[in-house]
Amino acid sequence: MPFISKIQRQTDYRRFPSSTPIVIDNGASYFRIGWAGEPEPRVIFRNIVQRPRHKVTGETVTIVGDHDVALLRYFDCTRSGPRSAFDNNVVYQFEIMEYILDFAFDRLGADGSKIDHPILITECVCNPFQSRSKMAELLFDTYGVPSIAYGVDAAFSYKYNQHHGVCNKDGLAICPGFMTTHVIPFIDGEPEYKGCCRTNIGGYHITDYLKQLLSLKYPHHMARFTWEKVEDLKMEHCYIALDYMSEARLFQNGTKEAEDKTRSWQLPWVPPPTEEPPSEEEIARKAAIKEKQGQRLREMAEAKRSSRINELENESHGLEFLLKQLEQVEEHDIRSFLSATGYVSRKEVESALLKVTQSLQKAKGEQAEFEEKPDAERFHLLNKPDHECTPEELKMKKRQVFLKSTSEGRQRAKQKRHEEELERERRNQQDEQRRSKNPELYKEQLLAKYKDLSEKVEQRKRLKTNGGQTNGNNISGNVGRGERLNAAQRERMRLLTTAAFDRGKGEDTFGARDEDWQLYKLMSKDNDDDDEGPDADEAELARLTSRLREVDPTFVPRSENGNSQSLETPRTRPLTEEDFRIDLGVERFRCPEILFRPNWVGIDQAGLDEMAGVSLRRLPSKSIELEERLTSSIFLTGGSSLFPGMSERLEAGIRMITPCGSPIRVVKALNPTLDAWRGASAYAASPQFPAQTFSKQEYYEKGEDVVRRYQFRYHVL
């Protein structure tokens, strides 16, 4: 991990005399502050400010830099994200800058009434005058700083490494930073800004690209890809391919090498509780319980039946006894005799007895003989002429006519079903015979038939839904009037509209020929739907499918619309550990590749290698000899130069744009992220430094001219 924050409060602020300058590397990603002449910055933190609300007290607080995430749980960070003072690589938000400087001086241990030290602060190449003067005002007025010097971070880094013999006094500094990438030529140890160039791409864009790609690839885990996490992933896994296309091809072809290069990040995953199949014992126990319950139900039913039989028997005995008694009773006494029993006449008693015996038979399980009377008897009234019938008989006759017709219909349907069954049997037998003769040929024929038919059915379905204009994408297909109507309906609409607009033009000859009248038939609504054809086809298709399944177990019927089904399946699939694994394959080198090809992220500017060429071309004094001197000391610094493979790729890229045989040497800074501060610290400690600063008095007396013309001189060291 190249970036580590250091925010412990320093205690030795008072030890430094007021002549010791404070050195600040104000980078777009990290802020570093320390004392001139020291090898390491004292305080390092991310150059961001958050202003969340405290959850309990509700007051808005200011938090600078990155802190332990656990401590942020007391704050409501939803309304304000981390904010930076930078727009591109220029400081523009000086309110945020002030918070950052507050925090930095506070952690450096400042406790006087002002910051009584000269300050050397870095800025971008050709920083706009407005930003520079605002920074000066902030430092002079708010902090009471005596004097200020500005310098360029990449230049300090170059000079520091030149001092340590890494690069020559003529060379090309290439600095891919956080928001921008610079190429600065150095001639005689001094940066030549005329040959400088800047592309607005850097580590920020790489992280953002990776973050977007991952959240598009794994939409379910989008919340996992926080800026900090993705930044970590980038620093840990990204590298620069020597040749992007061939590296990508490795992955496309799924080679072993590509597999080795794929990194995975396993998200915490707890397998869902699996339902164990019940043991034998369990099954047996359950079966026993079921059996017991069944037994009990059966017993209950049996008891009920027997009690009912008993009851019915008693009743029938009673009734029989009553009838016997009735035989001995006089005719006129019957009424009075029966008054106690609730029956009115002898007939009634007999019918009751009949009912009881019938239900008794039923209860005993004997089939109540419901003798089918012959038709002649059942429909005896049918042949009787109407005029001979009594009104009651007429009613009966109507009923019998109805009954007869329905029973005949039923008979016919039965007959038809039987015939169909026979027919199917016969066809199956034929099929079987053919199959046994030549199974292969049979299968082929069957398949061909199936294909034909399924296409036909599908075609018809398509025609019905829309005019066959789909090209594979049913989901985001266009919707409109034309899409909703089926072909026949659309044809009808067309006829109607032509009929509406055709009239009154020239001589009206409509009706002269008989075919003209066909038009109305076509226009009528009734001819829209003829569903019978497809139905028969579909039935045949179903038969073929089942037959094919029998013959060929590997046969898979064509799904009706594969698109929606393939979308449906993953949803129902139970989640596995694999679903919680984030694979970094092509992304590992695709994201940093944008440094070389900014137009992949929509930035239409030259990439790193091309920039070197641009820079050489922009130099005012061109000579082959100078170019060779420059290319033999190509110096890489800045946070985004830390990707493995950077030097090799840059060398290959620059070789392509320089004349054949020119010497190319690419060197990396001793520490690409810290050397800018170290170089600045060395400069601030030199005896010539005070001459390079400007004071508050100068600033306010000579006005903006001082700031505008100010230029740090690097060759003095």
């Binding site: 938000q93 406790d111 009434s113 005058f129 800004y193 137009n599 500017q605």
Partner: protein, 123 residues
């Protein structure tokens, strides 16, 4: 405020001895703050076109557009992309990915396009 938060000195104090003007005096609560000029406005105000063209400034040190032929890559996978889908405007590497992009919801298509600054922006 919780003890551990105070211990970590997470929150920037409101009053710092080394400052001549405290934050809340400079930006009083409840009063509208002047908006900071964005870089675009700064550049505009700077009137760089009045400056001598041979002197380097923030605008003219920008790199020119690339002269190298642009390799096109598949928007989804990053492989070399010989094909282009006229419906979604996405580039793709093979038939499999074509199927995938045709099943993508429009929102995702737009997000893929936005990655290379080619999305449809409604204003």
């Amino acid at each position: 405020m919780e003890r551990e938060v105070i211990q970590a000195e997470l929150v920037l104090p409101n009053k710092l001895s080394f400052k001549r003007v405290q934050m809340n005096e400079k930006y009083p609560k409840g009063q509208p703050r002047g908006r900071w000029k964005h870089l675009k406005q700064i550049i505009q105000a700077e009137n760089y076109h009045n400056y001598p063209p041979d002197e380097p400034n923030y605008v003219n040190i920008e790199s020119p557009p690339s002269m190298h032929p642009c390799k096109r890559i598949c928007d989804i996978t990053g492989y070399e992309a010989p094909y282009y889908d006229p419906r979604t405007n996405l580039r793709y590497a093979n038939a499999e990915i074509f199927k995938q992009i045709r099943s993508l919801p429009n929102e995702y298509v737009q997000r893929y396009l936005a990655l290379r600054n080619a999305a449809v922006v409604l204003k």
